[in-house]
């Protein structure tokens, strides 16, 4: 029987190794797998490359991984936000490498990895410094930049509901990078609010089919959630 449900957050991330490339879903504070990130922080894998749209704010989420100096490199479209103090500090200290990628290019590179493509030609960034050193091509009179597939070892994603087959549905704008990251990693781990029975998700409304998901873990009730 197919059962991708993992009993604890800790067990879900236990095999993430030092030096891993880890995708983390989310945009701003929407759709972030906060509890998986905390489990990863406690697990303590080091020298990580993190692929995520943002770099965390205050002491939360990705910022906590930065604070604990577990991250060697960030791949982001928008690492600097109000409150991204840990990223800014490490960047100033030269303690972190940054690969800045336009947001849509980040998405297409992730999707390409999940879809088995080697790369895509995007018009985004053509003629700008973010295309420096990249192959370009004019197709039908328009300039494009070659952007290669960006796979990961692990994807930590956040969904609203899952079943034991790993099918996922999301909450409102909480999708953002989560569905595409689910496709692009060797191991995809989904933190969800609720686990439902197989067959309870409408097959017309499943956003991430279970084939893309390896482990599902339910959020643990937090003390402050009860407040």
């Amino acid at each position: 029987m197919i059962n991708k449900i993992c009993e604890s957050l800790r067990a879900a991330v236990a095999d993430i190794e030092d030096g891993s490339v880890v995708m983390i879903g989310g945009f701003g504070n929407s759709g972030i797998p906060m509890q998986l990130i905390e489990a990863l922080r406690l697990h303590g894998a080091r020298e990580l490359t993190i692929i995520s749209n943002n770099a965390g704010t205050a002491e939360d989420g990705i910022a906590s991984l930065l604070r604990d100096r577990l991250v060697r490199k960030m791949v982001c479209s928008f690492p600097r936000s109000s409150g991204s103090i840990w990223f800014e500090r490490l960047y100033e200290e030269g303690e972190i490498e940054l690969e800045l990628v336009p947001q849509g290019t980040l998405g297409e590179r992730i999707r390409a990895a999940g879809a088995g493509l080697g790369g895509v030609y995007t018009p985004t960034g053509y003629g700008t410094r973010l295309a420096d050193g990249k192959e370009t091509k004019v197709i039908n009179g328009k300039g494009y930049v070659l952007e290669t597939a960006m796979p990961a070892d692990v994807a930590l994603i956040k969904a609203d509901r899952a079943d034991a087959w790993g099918n996922l549905v999301y909450n409102t704008a909480g999708r953002n990078f989560n569905p595409i990251m689910a496709t692009a990693a060797r191991i995809t781990i989904a933190e969800v609010k609720t686990i439902v029975r197989v067959g309870d998700l409408d097959p017309e409304c499943v956003v991430t089919p279970g084939i893309f998901v390896d482990r599902v873990v339910a959020q643990e009730v937090q003390k402050h959630d009860a407040a």
């Binding site: 749209n53 998405g107 985004t124 003629g127 909450n171 704008a173």
Partner: protein
């Protein structure tokens, strides 16, 4: 000279948003354009994080923490709206499906180059977000910005000094002094506010302006 306030500038852009348009409003001043689109027009707002049909801010007890716009503000969804992932959202942007994008800018060149993501200050880590995708993708790209910097330097230049967001992408510039079209012949003033004269506006612009047609 007549200088429009921020609100007046947003109101002026709003007048040019047609009924039924699909529109992406950039972070900051452009976001406020939505406040001034008249009620007899139905405009569908796109947010890069995966929303079509963005509605107004929710009542405090109706906040959904996942339902934010690109500027990370809480929003709502209109009836008829939908949610989708990053790849589909940027397909809408890059694929030419949005009628209008309104973005802020540091600088705009005479040929419509846009610089709005980085200055030449290397102290801060860079951040680009979705600006480059919007710049190349929207059918019409409007820039909404003050005509000059706080220290009265021109922001409309022959060539941008700051790193480009996109080359030859801007269609129209709305400033606090005038509305200017980027055309094949050069920058053409479309509208001068109040009694502002072409000469006055030209004096604050580092690229030649053509008179209104």
């Amino acid at each position: 000279m007549m200088r429009l306030s921020t609100d007046e500038m947003a109101r002026r852009v709003a007048q040019d948003i047609p009924d039924g348009a699909y529109v992406n409003l950039g972070i900051g001043m452009p976001t406020s354009v939505a406040n001034y689109v008249s009620d007899d027009k139905q405009v569908i707002y796109h947010s890069e994080n995966g929303i079509l049909g963005v509605g107004p801010a929710p009542a405090p007890d109706k906040i959904d923490p996942d339902l934010i716009n690109a500027g990370k503000q809480y929003v709502t969804l209109l009836k008829g709206g939908s949610y989708f992932d990053n790849a589909e959202s940027f397909a809408m942007m890059r694929g030419g499906h949005l009628d209008i994008a309104v973005l802020g800018a540091f600088q705009v060149s005479a040929t419509g180059d846009l610089a709005n993501w980085a200055t030449n200050n290397d102290k801060f880590p860079p951040a680009v977000g979705g600006a480059m995708d919007l710049a190349v993708g929207a059918k019409q790209l409007f820039v909404l910005m003050r005509h000059t910097t706080k220290t009265d330097e021109a922001k409309i230049l022959e060539q941008c000094e700051y790193p480009l967001t996109g080359a030859g992408v801007v269609k129209r510039i709305y400033t606090d002094l005038a509305v200017i079209d980027v055309t094949g012949e050069g920058l053409r003033v479309r509208e001068l506010y109040g009694d502002n004269t072409l000469a006055e506006v030209q004096a604050l612009t580092a690229a030649p302006l053509l008179p209104p047609l």
